[in-house]
């Protein structure tokens, strides 16, 4: 009876759950995911050539709704344009498709994209204005694609120089004509992608002090060693952060591009990152757990690990008998082999799910364990002492 009373007290004490995990696939990794505007649907790519759309059901759980079948090879990346409601997918078959929802049939219709690459596509992202998207590939070039209404397909312009290896990640600047690219040649670069064809009227900024034509390299950052797995501009576009395979997290401000703030972390390398506000971002990767970093004008500091499992608290309430039994079962140590993180494998993608007042209040992560987890920032703040976002 005492044990039961203690359990009730503990569960009552935790009012908000910090995260909601959902196992979308069993034994299949998720390479990428993207929500639509109202979070009612999510498009997910796993280790197959099929892309799956899940719809939010009655219980709040996402249920498989449709499967998009057009690709011939593993789909590596997906993105959903929230306002124009279009999905773009890219795969190892050197192709990308833009999917438009047919109003009358409710079916998703694929539209071919002429990438003109001779290697697999690795990453795709819609631009902020959703009139174009960028596709990174193993062909060591970036394809910026826009719609050609005459022929009813998407055409691409390439950015090739001086990228020397596979592109792993791309991020658009809020102005819609600047791109940050992270690649396997250990560099993070910012390019101009102003397109005459779409009547771009770029303005100068600290990232682009002189008006530059499409494909001009504006600035290049080196990470010493380590592929650049993830790159993101801050919400205002004034700062750029990237994570690399040497377990480092780097941030640079557009006002002082020679000073790169690097944190050489003690964790395994991160694969993706997301800015929660102008002065904090979350990085996640091979440690299966999102980590918070705080950014100030002259420093970048590791903030906290954002995964706290409730089950850990129950260990304090074990009776002496139960403790010895567990010791007997599992051997000398009490730690066992169970992971204490929500994700049990590498986190591959992290997306903002809800924002308010310019700050992200909810974000989602997907990983190689086939799980999709939605994290509540407010709940995390109250659960972890001293957390500032």
């Amino acid at each position: 009876k005492q044990w039961y009373q203690r359990r009730v007290a503990i569960t009552a004490g935790i009012k908000m759950s910090t995260n909601t995990p959902q196992q979308l696939f069993v034994n299949e990794p998720i390479s990428s995911h993207a929500f639509n505007k109202d979070l009612s649907q999510v498009v997910v790519s796993n280790a197959s050539a099929e892309t799956h759309i899940f719809k939010k059901g009655a219980g709040g759980k996402y249920v498989l709704d449709t499967t998009l079948k057009e690709h011939l090879e593993r789909v590596t990346s997906v993105d959903w344009a929230p306002n124009s409601n279009r999905i773009v997918t890219c795969a190892g078959d050197r192709n990308a498709y833009v999917w438009n929802l047919q109003q009358d049939t409710g079916e998703w219709q694929p539209c071919l994209v002429l990438l003109r690459i001779n290697r697999a596509a690795t990453y795709v992202r819609w631009s902020p204005n959703e009139d174009r998207f960028a596709v990174g590939s193993g062909a060591r070039l970036l394809s910026v694609c826009y719609f050609d209404p005459e022929n009813n397909w998407w055409v691409s312009k390439h950015i090739k120089k001086p990228i020397r290896s596979t592109i792993l990640c791309v991020d658009w600047h809020p102005t819609n004509y600047l791109l940050a690219v992270g690649s396997c040649d250990f560099k993070c670069r910012v390019f101009s992608s102003a397109l005459k064809e779409l009547s771009d009227k770029p303005q100068t900024s600290p990232w682009m002090p002189k008006l530059s034509k499409f494909g001009t390299l504006l600035v290049e950052f080196s990470t010493n060693n380590g592929w650049v797995h993830g790159v993101k501009f801050s919400p205002s576009g004034a700062q750029l952060a990237w994570v690399s395979h040497d377990s480092s997290v780097n941030v640079v401000s557009m006002d002082n591009q020679t000073k790169v703030f690097t944190v050489l972390t003690a964790s395994l390398p991160y694969c993706c990152l997301l800015w929660l506000s102008e002065d904090s971002f979350v990085a996640a990767g091979h440690d299966n757990c999102p980590d918070l970093f705080n950014v100030s004008r002259d420093d970048v500091k590791y903030g906290a690990r954002l995964d706290i499992k409730k089950e850990k608290l129950s260990e304090h309430n074990m009776s002496a008998m139960a403790r010895f039994q567990k010791l007997d079962e599992h051997g000398l140590t009490e730690t066992g082999t169970k992971l204490h993180t929500t994700h049990v494998n590498c986190i591959t993608d992290i997306r903002a799910a809800a924002t308010s007042n310019g700050k992200v209040t909810r974000f989602s992560t997907s990983g190689k364990d086939g799980k999709l987890v939605i994290w509540e920032v407010n709940a995390l703040c109250s659960a972890i002492q001293g957390l500032s976002i």
Partner: protein, 131 residues
Amino acid sequence: KQWYQRRLAITAGQEVTERAAEVKKLLNLTKNKDALKLALQNPPIGHQDPSVKEQNYETVLSVLKAFRTPEIDAAVGELSDADVDVLMKYLYKGFSNSPDKAAALLLWHEKAVKKGGVGCVIRVMVDRKGI
């Protein structure tokens, strides 16, 4: 530019030799912790002359051998993060050079991981220039 690089290489070589002598002096005075910190300064990373790298490696190894087991934890605790990264690189060089004598180095490895985490080990793995 070639001349400049050659000058840099020579000065790095001289620095390594001077450091070896300094470290030996500190070890004789049993100032082990200071010897460790000095030995880990400015390693000749990517130096074209392998004998310079070997000499620095021997210096570091001589310091590591001078410590008794209970002293290692405190010594590693006083190192800066950059120094721990350099120490880890030398430990892995030691593992590959003489795998059968790895026992002593493994004690150092455990303490270095306690301080620098697995990120420290990752940085040794992705390092493209040899130490």
